[in-house]
């Protein structure tokens, strides 16, 4: 080194002096840069230019070495990470599918709960978890059981319509017999014509409405609702629509029914743990029952019959039930009648009305007596409805005045005994002017 410097001493010094001057010049010179509005000293630019290539070189080497290591020599880690990422993608996809399903389920449940608020008292949402696995048995399994309050014969429905009933309730699951099973039976009726029948499944898994006479008018598209007669499904629930009507056996129609609920794609159902007959009340609000009409039209005992009128006594033979109410005798009471009591005849169907038409006797009042007939204190027994028609006498004028025929009288007499159909006094009803009881009618 020393020999080199000694040999080229002058040149070395020249280079040194020039370098120093260049360095000094660089300290002074400012160079405007496009990105720098202020002048930058050349020495700084040179310093940066002198240093940064090494830095870039070092960074390049470092990055290259890192990339070389990570991208080529460390492929095992990359592969493992790749596998993990793929698994993560799969998990995310499954999660996405599940979330989509949850969203759909939420929509369905919202719809279901909306229906729940409308009709059913205490439904229990349940998830369909399985089927019977056989075409011969149309059963499904739900994820709620006796631990959740489910019992056998509870109705299972959806927002669209009825599904079936609980066949067996296990602690955590329940078996539901669907309405398209051939062993099932649901009381149903046509919504418009109110014709009732029995909904049964077929071996093929379809549904038919049985017990509908062939002379009834049923057309495809008619809606079917539950009649409530099976004591399982509340009345008024959608059952399905008539899809096909054809003549069947023994003067019955063969009515094919398309179920309202899609029984092949059930996912969530409602189990009715408590029934609430609110639909009946709803229906009754808009309809007037025939018994009520009769109760409004049938004559009753006037509070104060007009003077001069006679009171006929319709009597029945001993053994027939008559309502004997101890009432105070009123003016015009038939002579054959005991002064302390007035015998009340019972509206009877059939021939009783014919006999009543034949009777010319004037009667004071004819009542359709119910078990809780209040205007006249008395008690009616069940045999009232079984009174012999031949023994019962009903005065014609009263019936004719009421505008009733035998048919309507029959309907009135066969009204539900549980219903309060007691007649109220009808002051406006004109009393009969004369009463001539026959000897047959007067037991006395």
């Amino acid at each position: 080194m020393e020999s080199f410097l000694g040999r080229y001493r002058n040149l070395t010094i020249l280079v040194g002096v020039l370098f120093l001057q260049v360095l000094g010049l660089a300290v002074q010179v400012k160079r405007a840069d496009a990105g720098d509005p202020e002048n930058t000293r050349l020495i700084r630019i040179w310093a940066v230019d002198a240093i940064t290539p090494f830095e870039r070189g070092l960074v390049w080497v470092q990055t290259g070495a890192g990339n070389l290591w990570h991208n080529y020599f460390y492929l095992r880690g990359v592969r493992a990470e790749n596998r993990e990422l793929k698994q993560e993608i799969e998990r995310m996809r499954l999660e996405q599918v599940r979330l989509n399903e949850d969203a759909e389920q939420a929509h369905r449940l919202q719809k279901l709960l909306g229906f729940k608020e409308q009709a059913i008292g205490k439904p229990l949402p349940a998830q369909v978890i399985g089927t019977s696995g056989s075409d011969l048995s149309q059963c499904i399994y739900i994820d709620k059981g006796s631990d959740d309050g489910i019992k056998a014969d509870m109705a299972v429905i959806t927002a669209d319509g009825i599904v079936g009933k609980v066949l067996h309730a296990y602690p955590t699951t329940s078996q539901v017999l669907m309405i398209n099973d051939q062993t099932s039976g649901v009381g149903a009726m046509l919504e418009k014509s109110r014709l009732q029948g029995v909904l049964k499944g077929t071996p093929e898994g379809s549904i038919v409405l049985e017990r509908v006479m062939s002379d009834e008018k049923v057309s495809p598209g008619d809606a079917l609702i539950s009649s409530g007669g099976d004591q399982i499904f509340p009345k008024g629930l959608p059952v399905g629509t008539v899809s096909q009507v054809s003549p069947g056996h023994e003067n019955f129609l063969n009515i094919q029914v398309k179920p309202a609920a899609d029984l092949s794609r059930l996912e969530e159902v409602l189990v009715i743990t408590e029934k609430q007959e609110q639909n009946l009340a709803t229906e009754n609000n808009g309809r007037v029952r025939a018994a009520d009409i009769l109760a409004e039209r049938l004559p009753s005992v006037p509070d104060k019959p007009p003077q001069g009128s006679t009171t006929g006594v319709a009597a029945s033979k001993p053994g027939t039930t008559t309502a004997q109410a101890p009432v105070k005798p009123q003016g015009g009471v038939a002579s054959s009648a005991k002064p302390e009591s007035v015998k009340q005849t019972v509206a009877v169907p059939g021939d009783a009305m014919a006999n009543a038409n034949k009777s010319a006797a004037n009667v004071t009042a004819v009542r359709t007596v119910s078990s809780q007939a209040t205007p006249i204190t008395g008690q009616a027994t069940e045999s009232q409805t079984k009174a012999s028609p031949a023994k019962a006498v009903a005065p014609k004028p009263s019936l004719s005045a009421a505008g009733l025929n035998s048919g309507t009288a029959k309907a009135a007499g066969s009204s539900n005994p549980g219903q309060n159909t007691a007649l109220r006094p009808k002051p406006a009803t004109p009393p009969a002017k004369s009463v001539q009881p026959t000897s047959q009618d007067d037991p006395h």
């Binding site: 001493r9 002058n10 010094i13 020249l14 002096v17 020039l18 001057q21 260049v22 000094g24 010049l25 660089a26 002074q28 010179v29 160079r31 050349l42």
Partner: protein
Amino acid sequence: MTLTSVPITYTSGEQIEVYRFSLPVTVGVPVIALFLQAYLPRRLPFFSIFDLPLLVTIFFAMARRNPISGLFTGAAIGLAQDMLGAYPIGIYGIAKTVVGYGASSLGAKLDVENAGARLLVTLGFYLVHAAVYFTVARGMANLTLNWSWRIGILSGLANGVLGVGLYFLLDKFKQRT
């Protein structure tokens, strides 16, 4: 004319005489040259084509025949000249350093004593000086300078002529070592 009177002769190191200068001459001549170079162009505008510091640098370098002495002389005179100017300090310094080094190196090889040789040497180093100056000024200081060969050669010849006269004047201050 004998062989010894040839202006430029190739001689060995032992045959070339080395001169030295007193300190006042060493300092005073460059200062005067710098002063005149700064002062005369204001009175005589054409004098701006001359470069008295360059001529002094060439003279001292060739007289001393020592490259180190020549480069430092050139560096000092050049830096001083830069200080008088508006450009960054170092442009003339670098250029005159190169000229001082070259002139001293050439003086060590050649005997430059006659006027013709001095004219040619001065012309040549003027061009070298101009080349280095333009290079540094344009390359480092980012100065915009225009070069004209015609003006450059004419200026070189003018400096050579002035140098020949100046060198004979300065020869009076030579001292034999």
